[in-house]
């Protein structure tokens, strides 16, 4: 009975806005708002394209609708992977991080031209990589990058692909520099003050990113790019693969950190309460900084040429890495409960009802968090070495990361967009009910798709394949049938696509609307226990940076040395696939030829002149 009254109370608060109106981000930082907006729009474009490719490949591999040859599937899959997990996530991240730094330090960026410069650099890089990938759709261009987002050698992409990735990453490095610069400037004016939590999150995440990207930068700049240009003949596939995963695991946390940030600083605010604990949040981010890189080898349990010992170390580190995620789950739930009780919620479970479920921002994030818990569970299973043998490279794996990056991150970003876009445009969210339906649809679609993918994976159905239907054998489905699993995957994919369409409808509807006074004020959640309760050492970024580097050195020196010792720096005479590099080497040859010709004729002319003079 008391529940009913609570519900009513909750409803009245919801039907208006639960947050106070006031100065938006756009009002306060008009120049920065423009940058953040551009970053988010780039990210949405990537999401739209990636989503389109997602449904095409879903229907193709489940054999419901095939609009292309199976050979083309891998171009689509490369585009889906790269656009979504490189472009969509990271463009969104730089937008949110810029918001977080400026808002929490309460200062403008130091030099807006530099801010635009890094966004421009990232965009140029993304465009180059995208061009190389999309060129794979046409035979008229001798260019392709059908290497999937992991680009394992000896599979080779056009140099433009590697170059684009490099430029993109350099852009993110510049962005990090921009945020550090803001912090240094702020520190000078506020000596002795604690780093505001959102900025702290940005800085620790970026330190992790600098450490992690060293791996992929080395792989590309020292090996893959020169190799694709024909400057070196061969690479060591295990070395470039290991360097990729040096980066490939922490990049997962790079996607997750902005989502975590939203859960820590926005979610409690939306649920009407405060963040449970500031120190705990700091500890979580420090743990991620320290632990996320020295675990990459857990992606290589099945690789020959890497000793069992190194694999065990990676596995143990990975298990520790569960800790910060568990802490996050705990803090976030505790903060939501606080919020709910502030709103009049009571009871052991009853408080859940007092949460603003009708607010799409809140609902989206909370559902994303729920999926993350499921994803964490399937991730724990992945991380065990023995089970990994069963599910490695099966559909189980995409099942897992559509829960994590595909929902925990993507759904949080979409829900957060419903909060950010009004902040950045000063316009009221167009149609909250549609937005609410959108986030719920994503949740439902992903439940179908990911669940069926996990089950198909257990049957041994591989990932990354255009036709998981084979001639020689059939999968032994324990419960249900393969056809049923395929149907669920396809159904899930279609619901997800529908959800995306609604998302863009809401975003476009909002952007096309007119300025409104009814936009909530910019800000983020207060904390129940603030920074004053957390040890000062947590803010010692130099210390954490140093420790992170030491841990990486410990975890990677021996594996890398042993890989180089076995296969050599450039591998045992490895031939590139597909062999399409001739254009570039030919271009080189032409340039060389031209240079020699010019040189020869120049010497001839000189010789003639000298001869003439002498005569």
């Amino acid at each position: 009975m008391s529940d009913a009254t609570v519900n009513d109370a909750a409803k009245t608060t919801e039907s208006t806005t639960s947050e106070p109106l006031g100065e938006t981000y756009l009002d306060k930082f008009p120049a920065e708002a423009k940058v953040v907006r551009s970053a988010l729009y780039s990210s949405f474009l990537a999401l739209a394209l990636g989503g389109l490719f997602g449904v095409i490949q879903t229907l193709h591999r489940t054999d419901f609708l095939r609009i292309m040859e199976s050979e083309t599937y891998y171009t689509v899959l490369t585009a889906h992977g790269v656009f979504l997990v490189i472009a969509f996530t990271i463009f969104f991240l730089v937008g949110v991080f810029t918001w977080a730094v400026t808002t929490s330090l309460d200062r403008e960026v130091e030099d807006i031209r530099f801010t635009w410069a890094w966004l421009g650099t990232m965009t140029a890089g993304a465009a180059m990589a995208a061009a190389a990938i999309l060129a794979g759709f046409t035979d008229s261009l001798d260019m392709s990058a059908d290497v999937l987002f992991t680009f394992y050698a000896p599979m080779q992409a056009h140099p433009l692909f590697y170059l684009g990735l490099t430029v993109f990453v350099v852009g993110t490095w510049m962005a990090g520099a921009d945020w550090f610069r803001s912090w240094f400037a702020w520190k000078k004016e506020n000596p002795g003050e604690r780093i505001p939590l959102p900025t702290f999150m940005v800085l620790t995440t970026m330190i992790m990113w600098y450490v992690a990207t060293l791996g992929v930068a080395t792989a590309i700049l020292a090996f893959l790019l020169p190799w694709s240009l024909g400057l070196i003949d061969s690479v060591n596939p295990t070395l470039t693969r290991t360097l990729f995963w040096f980066f490939g695991h922490p990049v997962v946390y790079f996607w997750l950190m902005p989502a975590y940030m939203m859960w820590y600083v926005l979610l409690p605010k939306l649920s009407g309460g405060k963040l449970f604990s500031d120190p705990l949040a700091r500890v979580v981010f420090v743990l991620f900084l320290l632990l996320s890189t020295p675990v990459g080898i857990h992606h290589q349990y099945l690789d020959p040429g890497i000793s069992e010992g190194f694999k065990f170390i990676a596995m143990t580190n990975t298990m520790f890495l569960l800790l910060p995620s568990l802490l996050t789950a705990f803090t976030v739930v505790a903060s939501m409960e606080h919020g709910a009780r502030q709103r009049g919620g009571t009871g052991r479970i009853g408080w859940l009802k007092a949460l603003p479920w009708r607010d799409p921002v809140f609902a989206g994030m909370a559902l994303a968090g729920l999926m993350f818990a499921a994803g964490g569970f399937s991730g724990m299973i992945n991380a065990g070495m023995n089970i990994n043998y069963l599910v490695h490279n099966t559909l189980w794996v995409p099942g897992h990361f559509h829960l994590t990056v595909g929902t925990a991150v993507a759904l949080t970003f979409m829900a957060a967009s419903y909060w950010f876009i009004p902040q950045l445009t000063g316009k009221k969210l167009w149609n909250r009910p549609v937005a609410l339906v959108q986030v719920v649809l994503w949740f439902v679609g992903m439940t179908f798709m990911a669940n069926a993918m996990h089950r198909a994976g257990l049957l041994g159905m591989p990932r990354r394949t255009a036709e998981p239907q084979y001639d020689g054998f059939e999968y032994e489905a324990g419960v249900g049938s393969v056809a049923e699993l395929d149907a669920q995957i396809a159904l899930g994919g279609i619901i997800l696509t529908l959800s995306l369409v609604l998302f863009f409808a809401v975003i476009i509807g909002t952007v096309l609307g007119s300025r409104s006074d009814e936009v909530p004020a910019n800000g983020y959640a207060d904390t129940l226990s603030g920074p004053e309760d957390s040890p000062k050492i947590l803010d010692n970024l130099k210390l954490w940076f140093g420790l992170a580097v030491v841990l990486v050195i410990i975890a990677y020196t021996f594996p890398l040395l042993s890989i180089i010792e076995r296969g050599g720096l450039f591998g045992p005479d490895i031939t590139a696939f597909p062999q399409s590099i001739d254009i570039v080497s030919m271009a080189w040859l032409t340039v060389e030829q031209y240079a020699t010709d010019t040189f020869t004729s120049a010497t001839e002319v000189a010789q003639a002149t000298i001869d003439g003079v002498l005569r």
């Binding site: 394992y152 000896p154 568990l326 990354r464 084979y470 054998f473 490895i574 031939t575 696939f577």
Partner: protein
């Protein structure tokens, strides 16, 4: 607490169904362009190395496996040595945890126990190029009495002169460690010759069977040599006069 139990459970759980050991760096590296000179991989095959112990040397390349199919007996422990001629592939028995990456330059070794007759699909689950989805093979675990590692080869005359002996050089190779007791049977025309043989383990038996061509008569005679369920066959021409080479060749061509 739940977490700790969960962690321990995940770490220890595994090795269900097929007992397997982890892929690691035990094997030496190998140059992918020199597989044809390698003792193990120039001739991809299954070999017996102990009682109930077998080794399979497998080459993966875009987009096939060699050998295909792979045949092993029930109640056996098989170590697969797999390498790649080109890009990274995988060697994965569908629905089991025999699943390893196959990296050019490296040899993956995986040991599995097969208790009962079964059929397994072998697939490549690491993207290896535009035909990745076509890369499949089969592994048959066959009943013990249907399994052998026997290889039969026959060299025979194409043509003999009426009245001469036609010879058939038969080689039976026994790849298994136990002795192989069997019979070689030659059928040519209406003639049948049988020889009981015992081929020692891991050894080769050679014999020459002869048939008097007078018994066959002039003309073409199809022949088959059978050892268990292995057969070799061909055609023998018995001609009046071998000297007349040119003419006969023309005639031979017409026959074909």
């Amino acid at each position: 607490m739940v977490l700790i139990v969960g962690i321990i459970a995940t770490i220890t759980y595994g090795t269900v169904g097929l007992g397997i050991a982890m892929v690691d760096d035990e094997e030496d590296t190998i140059s992918p362009s020199e597989l044809d000179e390698d003792e193990r991989f120039s001739d991809p095959r299954v070999e017996q190395v102990g009682e109930n112990e077998y080794e399979a040397y497998v080459v993966a390349q875009t987009f096939i496996y060699q050998p295909d199919p792979i045949e092993v007996p029930e109640d056996s422990e098989v170590t697969f040595y797999v390498t790649s001629r080109d890009v990274i592939h995988s060697f994965s028995l569908v629905g089991t945890n025999v699943n390893t990456m196959v990296v050019p330059g490296e040899v993956s070794s995986v040991t599995a126990e097969f208790d009962e007759p079964a059929e397994y699909g072998v697939i490549c689950n690491e993207y290896c190029g535009s035909g990745h989805h076509d890369m499949e093979g089969m592994l048959y675990v066959v009943p013990e009495d249907e399994f052998d590692l026997t290889e039969l080869s026959v060299t025979a005359d194409d043509e003999v002169e009426l009245g001469d002996d036609a010879t058939f050089d038969v080689t039976v190779e026994n790849g298994q460690l136990d002795d192989l007791e069997t019979a070689i049977e030659l059928e040519v025309g209406d003639e049948t010759i049988e020889e009981d043989v015992t081929v020692p383990g891991d050894d080769t038996y050679e014999t020459t069977l002869t048939v008097d061509s007078t018994d066959l008569g002039e003309g073409d005679h199809d022949w088959t040599v059978t050892v268990d369920d292995h057969t070799e066959s061909g055609t023998l021409s018995v001609v009046e006069d071998l000297e007349d080479d040119e003419d006969d060749e023309d005639g031979g061509d017409d026959d074909e």
